[in-house]
């Protein structure tokens, strides 16, 4: 996975949730500087139901070009073309990014009561499919991450469950 500084952008997504802590830290000066230092030149925020609005910017030599939106019918195009994705820990968003093969940093929302989302993020991070961070450690993660250490997420066979079910019910599979 190459570090992509001339094409693409950083895509920050919170799915259908409200995750102001992530948007706020990603929009912070420290984070912007970290992204710039890693060679990224622009960032797109998908802020969902959040209330924190990032600063739009056309970008110049020293700053990140910034844009944002709340929702879109499909995030597929944004994900497909991103050089880096910083996402909340929802399984839908995680797997969409992984299947597209884009480098991914997952940020779990520690304000959520039952943070079982961390289980999934940690497991995938352990297998080196993505990086894991909290809003407090995001800047450090961006600064120190080694994208070449990431492994491509292997395609699963979703039909396996369906086939197992069909077999149990006695349907013959063509």
């Amino acid at each position: 996975m190459e570090r992509d500084s001339t094409r693409g952008y950083v895509f920050v997504t919170v799915g259908t949730t409200s995750f102001d802590a992530l948007v706020r830290i990603a929009d912070s000066r420290a984070c912007r500087e970290a992204l710039l230092s890693r060679g990224y030149s622009s960032v797109v925020f998908q802020i969902g139901r959040g209330s924190y609005i990032p600063q739009k910017s056309t970008g110049d030599e020293d700053s990140l070009k910034t844009n944002y939106f709340t929702f879109a019918p499909s995030l597929a195009d944004f994900i497909k073309n991103a050089a880096l994705i910083i996402s909340h820990a929802g399984s839908g968003s995680i797997f969409e990014a992984l299947r597209a093969g884009r480098p991914l940093v997952v940020v779990a929302n520690d304000a959520l009561m039952d943070n079982h989302q961390m289980e999934l993020a940690e497991e995938l991070a352990e297998s080196k499919y993505l990086f894991c961070a909290s809003p407090g450690t995001l800047v450090n993660t961006i600064t120190t991450m080694d994208l070449s250490s990431l492994i491509r997420y292997p395609a699963s066979t979703p039909l396996a469950v369906v086939q197992a079910l069909d077999q149990f019910l006695g349907f013959s599979n063509q």
Partner: protein, 220 residues
């Protein structure tokens, strides 16, 4: 008179105990081939957000002629799940959908997040009663669920239907892909109660911890 009533009650009780034992023993055994020549009326339980997305993903992969007619159940306070299901159904091949129209039902939620335990006892009873009403009315051949609290009354009702009638309801649980090392509370309960005919997990670690579960790869 009293003796006869007592005798009758004992007989009914014995039959129920026998049916209960039989249902437990038969749970998980593959269906006899003769039962699978016809389509299966499928009850699909939808929870909020991620649960709905995962379940609808699964439904889109099923053979739509075999698992038909489909009935979707979501909590009364869940605004989005049923309309998402409707959009999915509309995207299927029109002729398959026309033969068996999908249905959309709402169930009283047993307990809202943060609700006090005292009032929860009342609402849980109502939720359970409503679950019984729905399941006994629809009489599904198969119940599909993946973890929201909404599925507990439905699954218990499904199991009661097995005991109290000769309807064999296949109960299938697919734990969410987000559950890697621990089962959800609903999943744990259903696993311990041995109610499900098929209990799928999506991570090998869970299969190791819960040997009666099935692991056949992830859905995503």
């Amino acid at each position: 008179m009293k003796m006869e009533v007592q005798w009758l009650l004992w007989t009914v009780f014995s039959i129920l105990v026998f049916r209960f034992a039989f249902a437990l023993w038969s749970t998980g055994r593959a269906l006899a081939p003769c039962l699978s020549k016809r389509p299966f009326c499928t009850l699909i339980v939808l929870g909020s957000g991620g649960h709905t997305a995962e379940m609808l993903d699964l439904v889109s992969m099923l053979n739509h002629e075999r698992y038909s007619p489909r009935c979707y159940v979501a909590a009364l306070t869940d605004n989005m799940s049923l309309s998402k299901a409707q959009r999915l159904e509309e995207s299927f091949i029109p002729q398959a959908a026309a033969n068996h129209k999908a249905r959309y039902l709402q169930i009283y939620r047993s307990r809202e997040v943060g609700q006090s335990y005292l009032t929860s006892m009342v609402t849980t009873t109502i939720g359970m009663a409503h679950g019984l009403w729905i399941v006994f009315r629809i009489r599904p051949d198969i119940i599909l669920c993946n973890g929201p609290g909404t599925c507990l009354p439905i699954c218990i009702a499904g199991f009661l239907l097995k005991i109290l009638s000769f309807k064999w309801v296949v109960m299938v649980y697919i734990e969410s892909i987000a559950r890697v090392r621990k089962l959800s509370l609903t999943g744990l309960l259903l696993y311990k109660l041995c109610l499900m005919d098929q209990f799928f997990v999506q991570w090998p670690k869970l299969k190791n911890k819960f040997p009666r579960a099935q692991y056949v790869d992830r859905l995503m």
